[in-house]
């Protein structure tokens, strides 16, 4: 009998618990929402994320790699900035990557990543990014996740409508935000109007190697070319740039650049211009810019100074360039997956303007012009406009797309993401962001094939989202689940630097081909050593070259004598490991640069100029094994006039 009571009691209890659970799972309880959101972003220990996300680092100069939906950061890839963590920009091999016509520049402002495409779909070979300040474009390998190439862009200033690639990665396109004198010269600033130019650069990408070549520059009127995106599908062969300051003001821009009711989206038929250039068109202009290429065989970057660029006057090519009037200083200029719609986000407006590619072609055909600017036809607004999205928000900036005909636009002033339908232009949902959102990113959201599961909103203001860390906070980002009709905020995470744009792709596109080691038998570094028996120290006047090897857990050699004050000592260190994720570090007391972090099979070089007599220790900075603390050595530094013979040893 007792047993039955227990049974009934137990059943009742269970039912209550069960009902409790059910109630908790109902839509009105915050706790349950939070727990279902938690499940969506929870990647259990040992499990891996579904997507890679590459967030620009803005003023950090670097690119950060995250996982979605977890928001975990995996890596910071140094691109335009020196990075003491790995020695990028400090090691002898990587210093050339930061050379420009203005000398060695240890920093830049990295804005817009774009993953390479084939037939308009992400192919995951490379990711391209722009340096905004001293105009540059970089190509990063998605096998090594390292910067392989940086090309400087001449005749540009504020390289902002960059780095966007065409649908077969034929070109990476870089437009200037600031109009400048072309070629640069000494002239009064207030003679800007009509004299400055806006250069749009088309950099070809070699299909096999990814090698960049500045093929031609289109010299446009001196407007500000703010953002751009490629045509795709039916509009492949065209590229669209938003503009502001069509007033061509040169001072108090926040007032003077906002006078015109409409600025333009510039439509560039690059195929036509490419044909023109291939047939000898264009003008060769003397210039000077750096082209830096890194080789994974020699583990070394080299700089070549280029002296010439082909410039094109767009008015000389019939039908190559048109202006599409677009209200209120458009910022974002985004093209939907079909290539039909070009969305202009008038950043001082509440509405989005959508242009139709088909209507644009018809307007060109029918010569529906509203005038011209510096010889470039201005198409009639009503004849190209497909629709207006009455958003109810304020300050639209950027738009990405899913695969189901929906568009998602950020609104900076009203801090929200607005979801709307292509073709009906109806707003279907809106969700707040925290706070003042800039760009947003859907993996593949700038391609023919978006993966519309998550959208990441990248905000400019953080305020109270995290524990305070003094006046400076990392920027916040939010992840929304967009798989349903309504967007759902599921996660909030801090980012590094200032993310502008980002690019994402399914994990399986990259994970399986990610490089694990550099093969020692493919190491062609001129100062690399194949095995420890080649380890040695050579003197050439005041220059001393140390050919050093590392393996868990010792340096060969680890005792060096005969170095003198005033010597310039090059430590060329080859990591003889051939196992995944076993780098060794190197640092020596009094080194005026950063440490080195040397990947398995790699050779890196650090320069040390000892200034004081003594015996100076060096050690491995990366905890490499149980005997890591023992991975150390000494260099004896004698006075400049000493006659101590150069000697080196290990275990003697």
């Amino acid at each position: 009998m007792k047993k039955i009571y227990y049974l009934i009691g137990g059943l009742l209890g269970l039912t209550l618990v069960y009902m409790g659970c059910n109630r908790a799972a109902g839509p009105n309880t915050n706790g349950a929402l939070a727990s279902s959101a938690a499940e969506k972003v929870y990647v259990a220990p040992g499990e891996q994320d579904e997507f890679y996300a590459f967030l620009s680092g803005g003023y950090s100069g670097n690119l950060t790699v995250y996982g979605l939906p977890s928001g975990r950061m995996f890596k910071e890839i140094p691109v335009f900035s020196q990075f003491p963590t790995s020695g990028y920009g400090y090691s002898e091999e990587t210093k050339p990557m930061l050379n420009t016509s203005h000398g060695f520049i240890p920093w830049d402002d990295l804005h817009h990543p774009d993953i390479s495409q084939t037939n308009g779909e992400l192919d995951g070979r490379w990711i391209f990014v722009n340096g905004n300040n001293t105009p540059r474009i970089a190509r990063i390998s998605l096998e090594t996740f390292e910067t392989e190439e940086i090309i400087e862009i001449p005749n540009s200033g504020g390289n902002h409508s960059s780095a966007f690639i065409t649908e077969n990665t034929e070109y990476v396109i870089a437009g200037t935000r600031f109009a400048v004198p072309v070629p640069q010269r000494d002239m009064p600033i207030n003679e800007y109007k009509g004299n400055f130019k806006g250069a749009l650069s088309f950099i070809s990408v070699a299909p096999e190697t990814g090698r960049l070549d500045l093929k031609f520059q289109v010299l446009m009127p001196g407007f500000n070319y703010d953002l751009s995106h490629p045509g795709r599908g039916k509009s492949h062969g065209w590229h669209f740039f938003s503009t502001y300051n069509t007033e061509e003001a040169n001072t108090l821009m926040e007032v003077n650049s906002s006078q015109n009711d409409k600025d333009f989206i510039a439509a560039i038929n690059w195929k036509k211009i490419e044909d023109y250039v291939n047939n000898g068109g264009g003008t060769k202009m003397a210039t000077n810019y750096a082209h830096n290429v890194y080789s994974h065989e020699t583990h070394t970057g080299t700089t070549t100074m280029k002296k010439e660029v082909v410039t094109v006057d767009p008015t000389e090519i019939e039908g190559a360039v048109f202006f599409l009037p677009t209200p209120k200083s458009p910022h974002g200029c985004d093209v939907d997956p079909s290539g039909e719609y070009i969305i202009g986000s008038g950043k001082l407006s509440a509405d989005l303007t959508v242009h139709s590619f088909t209507k644009m072609l018809a307007a060109i055909e029918g010569e529906k012009f509203d005038g011209e600017a510096y010889g470039i036809p201005i198409l009639s607004f009503d004849d190209v406009m497909a629709g207006i999205v009455k958003s109810g928000g304020l300050g639209p900036l950027h738009t990405e797309f899913d695969a189901n005909g929906n568009a998602y636009t950020t609104f900076f002033i009203s801090s929200e993401v607005v979801k709307w339908r292509l073709e009906t232009w109806d707003v279907v949902d809106r969700k707040p962001t925290f706070y003042s959102v800039g760009h947003l990113m859907i993996p593949g959201g700038n391609s023919r094939k978006p993966f519309g599961k998550y959208v990441v909103a990248m905000n400019k203001i953080t305020k109270d989202r995290y524990l305070p860390t003094g006046p400076e906070m990392e920027h916040s980002a939010q992840i929304y689940d967009i798989s349903g009709e309504k967007m759902e905020l599921i996660y909030d995470f801090p980012t590094h630097g200032e993310p502008h744009y980002a690019a994402g792709c399914p994990a399986e596109l990259l994970a399986s081909k990610s490089k694990k080691i550099y093969r020692l038998d493919e190491n062609k570094h001129p100062y690399g050593i194949n095995n420890p028996s080649e380890a040695r120290v050579e003197r050439n006047g005041k220059e001393v070259h140390v050919y050093m090897g590392t393996i868990r857990s010792h340096f060969t050699p680890d005792n060096i004598e005969g170095i003198k004050v005033g010597d310039k000592v090059y430590f060329h260190i080859t990591n003889h490991e051939q196992d995944f994720d076993v780098p060794h570090g190197f640092s020596i007391l009094g080194q005026n640069t950063s440490e080195l972090l040397i990947m398995p099979g790699q050779t890196k070089t650090s320069v040390w100029e000892p200034k004081q007599v003594g015996v100076w220790p060096f050690y491995c900075t990366d905890f490499c094994s149980a005997l890591h603390q023992e991975m150390q050595g000494y260099v004896r530094v004698s006075p400049a006039n000493s006659n101590i013979e150069l000697s080196w040893s290990l275990g003697e």
């Binding site: 080691i517 020692l520 038998d521 194949n530 095995n531 420890p532 028996s533 090897g549 393996i551 868990r552 857990s553 010792h554 060969t556 003889h576 490991e577 051939q578 196992d579 995944f580 076993v582 007599v613 094994s625 149980a626 005997l627 004698s638 006075p639 006039n641 000493s642 006659n643 101590i644 275990g651």
Partner: protein
């Protein structure tokens, strides 16, 4: 005054050269018995063998890993041994000498102590061996915890290393 300065500068230079050029008197350090005893390793409670792992003969033990059975041809394949020797130089000499103990055991006579299968398994997956093979585990302790590095060699490369060891 100037002369005096020059003279003292010369003296100073001599002094510096003198210091730099000479070997400083060797100090023997403190005198407690601190020579490492090799027996210590095998005296650990887990061990059942009195002989240090590096001197044990374990020819019946094939180790743990993908190599189950190797039949050695009576004749040494010279070509294979030569390529194994080259691989040894590149991938192994940072820690192994042929004729003496270094970071790890010497290679001479290795096949008198270990089976061919054990040797290949140790090269191909040292981490698994240290986890699951008694002898490999004891060797790690005997050699100061210096874990053997996985050099990501193929079975074929490892086989040629084995052939090279036969020539030693």
């Amino acid at each position: 005054m100037k002369i005096k300065f020059t003279i003292s500068a010369c003296l100073l230079a001599l002094l510096i050269v003198g210091c730099g050029g000479k070997t400083e008197k060797k100090e023997d350090g403190f005198s407690v018995e601190r020579k490492k005893s090799t027996e210590q390793a095998v005296e650990t409670p887990e061990s059942t063998n009195e002989v240090p792992a590096s001197q044990r003969i374990t020819l019946d033990n094939k180790g743990v890993g993908q190599i189950k059975n190797i039949t050695l041809d009576p004749e040494i394949d010279q070509e294979m041994a030569t390529s194994g020797g080259e691989l040894f130089k590149t991938n192994c000499t940072a820690c192994h000498k042929t004729d003496r103990r270094f970071i790890g055991p010497k290679m001479e006579g290795i096949l008198e102590r270990r089976s061919p299968e054990w040797v290949m398994n140790m090269i191909l997956d040292p981490q698994l061996m240290v986890e699951e093979d008694r002898c490999a585990k004891d060797l790690l302790v005997e050699f100061n915890g210096a874990a053997m590095a996985n050099q990501n060699l193929t079975v074929e490369q490892t086989r040629s290393l084995l052939e090279f060891f036969r020539t030693l």
